[in-house]
Symmetry: C2
Subunit: 382 residues, 2 copies
């Protein structure tokens, strides 16, 4: 495979975009990325989306968006891996360019979720779980994560308040990201008193849905001169969809496997990662991701938060633009937001939440409760 670089990025604010259609949102991010890259169109389009067949009654989204953004006739396709759809689309675009089949790929992650009543969105999100065994029993997606969090607290002796730093850090960082869904800092007291969703997960453990789109342009690295953002590592791994089928429900085997492969491909270790955009759909997932990717010992993820190591000035900065928790989680778009944000860090564009001398960044996107996990490592080269 030939080396691939990211030539441009784009994103919309995550919000309730009642005045924009699904394709208009995608177009806004796509045009921003094309402008940033300084090109008019790409050879191919890869779209990450999870819920448009259910919420927006639109399939064939690759072709739908290709037409809208002026890429009439181009190859276009949609990739779906639940909340991991964004990074799965990015990896498909990477493969197209790395293989030599395409000279450029526009990758767009898009989701428009707020047109539907909340309980219907909950049902739609449950399609990420196992329909035959989990959903059939009436468990919701947050319910599944709550069972995992409760078991984790029991097994390793943590209190609910010990997870607060993940959410506090995310909200603090989102204050400096104009595209974030939520702009409000939170305190430990607010975290503890927030409304319960599914014990022990309360509102401030959980990421908000939203409407949004993010995009990136991939090209062969050999075509660029000077400073480049390289895709240094890319890997995808899976686990059982049903959490009860896992060998160990408290270990993200697919995060371990995909990060290990990505580290190997990039020739780095976890110690060399300057910034880590992880998939904090729920606070428990932050802890599990940090452990599976080698940043903390088993059961010790919350320690990094309590020790102040996850802030932009810490040893393992995470969610530097707000994470899923405060930047927001438009499910099929999230993986692209993470990649866009790592690029912003490597370009030094993050202002107040800039990680000093960020050279290597990692983005990890998760579909289901740890079922499909994609890890990408980006590196800036001069």
């Amino acid at each position: 495979m030939r080396p691939v670089a990211i030539l441009g990025i784009g994103q919309t604010k995550i919000d309730e975009h009642w005045d924009k259609s699904l394709k208009e949102l995608a177009g806004e991010a796509a045009f921003a990325a094309l402008n940033d890259a300084g090109i008019e169109r790409a050879d191919s389009l890869f779209v990450g989306n999870m819920l448009s067949p259910i919420i927006n009654h639109q399939n064939q989204l690759g072709t739908h968006i290709a037409d809208w953004v002026g890429m009439w006739g181009a190859e276009a396709t949609k990739i779906e891996a639940a909340c991991g759809s964004g990074a799965a689309a990015f990896r498909a675009g990477l493969m197209a360019v790395a293989s030599g089949e395409m000279e450029s790929a526009l990758v767009v992650g898009v989701e428009k979720m707020t047109d539907m009543a909340g309980h219907d969105v909950t049902s739609a999100l449950a399609t990420a779980a196992d329909a035959d065994y989990e959903v059939e029993q009436g468990v919701s997606f947050v319910g599944l994560n709550a069972l995992v969090m409760r078991r984790y607290m029991h097994e390793f002796g943590w209190k609910h308040a010990d997870f607060a730093p993940f959410s506090i850090n995310a909200h603090a960082n989102a204050m400096h990201n104009p595209n974030a869904r939520l702009h409000q800092t939170i305190t430990l007291e607010q975290f503890e008193k927030s409304s319960m969703v599914a014990t022990p997960i309360n509102l401030l453990d959980a990421s908000p849905i939203g409407d949004g789109a993010a995009a990136a342009i991939l090209v062969p690295a050999e075509k660029l001169k000077g400073r480049k953002i390289m895709v240094a590592g890319s890997a995808s791994a899976t686990d059982t969809i049903a959490v009860h089928s896992r060998r160990d429900p408290l270990f993200l085997a697919a995060a371990y496997a995909s990060s290990k492969r990505a580290y190997g491909m990039a020739g780095v270790t976890s110690a060399e990662i300057d910034v880590f955009e992880l998939h904090d759909a729920f606070s428990i997932m932050s802890a599990l991701s940090l452990e599976a990717c080698g940043f903390a010992e088993r059961g010790q993820g919350p320690r990094l938060g309590l020790d102040g190591e996850i802030t932009p000035k810490g040893r393992v900065p995470v969610c530097t633009r707000g994470g899923l928790k405060a930047r927001g989680h438009p499910v099929g778009a999230t993986g692209l937001y993470q990649i866009v944000e790592v690029v912003q860090q490597l370009r030094g564009e993050c202002g107040e939440t800039q990680v000093a001398d960020a050279r290597i960044g990692m983005a990890q996107n998760i579909g289901g409760s740890g079922a499909t996990i994609l890890t990408h490592i980006l590196r800036v080269t001069d």
Copy 2:
């Protein structure tokens, strides 16, 4: 890109499989392909499916099926391009192996459609059209194709009966395919008297839905010795989703573009194609595909049928295993059925409908009313 060959194929009968779940259907085809290939598992899984989020309430189907077929941990993803999902997944698997990233790919197309009431399936299939402009007006998917067929008949002076040979050939060929949905020959008189669906499309112009799965295993050609089925050409192209936005609604621009690229890649012309598994979702589509791919002049597609050229003994054999019309059209699986059937022809396994000395075969899969079109050319080499 390195050359890729098809090592194994598998399929289920297309039927109303009320006793099998979506993953069981997929598994049946996947295991058949793995057995045919003589391997226990593949490195990666690519699933083509259109409707499982709506009909089966299951997303993340790549991971769901990977777990079921014993590929725990492997990379897995789902690709969706409406009724073109099967070939789009095949192309994604091809890219993964051709790029060198994977040493093998299992590609499965699967759809389970008969669990839902007919009018709900019609609504689900409408997600292939443009939700904002077409579906909003109340037009169904067959309605869109009926408008195209009526215009074509008006423009080029054909009668409805002139399309009969497409359906008669498909039904005749399906008699010899044990996996076909329909096993009954039809006559011109039956074709003309069949129940109207959307004027001028009647029941015998239209393909039946069904439950089914088909699969193929892709590996680097360099690993095989002796006779091989090579993927000689692969291309995807798109058009506007909304038919009214087309420059010419009677010309499949995406079929023209993708077949042209596939011919170029394979180094062949349409005259060298021994068998053509085309996407006869409706009889009008057979005519349009033959014209766009260079087998007939504009407006002259039906002539090939009337002249007897489309049968297994004709100049351009199409739908040799029954096509969408009689083999059946489990939408996201269809593209894989077409590829499996071309392989069967190149292996000489088609008995009564075997095309003599078939060396080069083409499969063309269409998403929407001509919006996403993928063309694959397979060639047997000694």
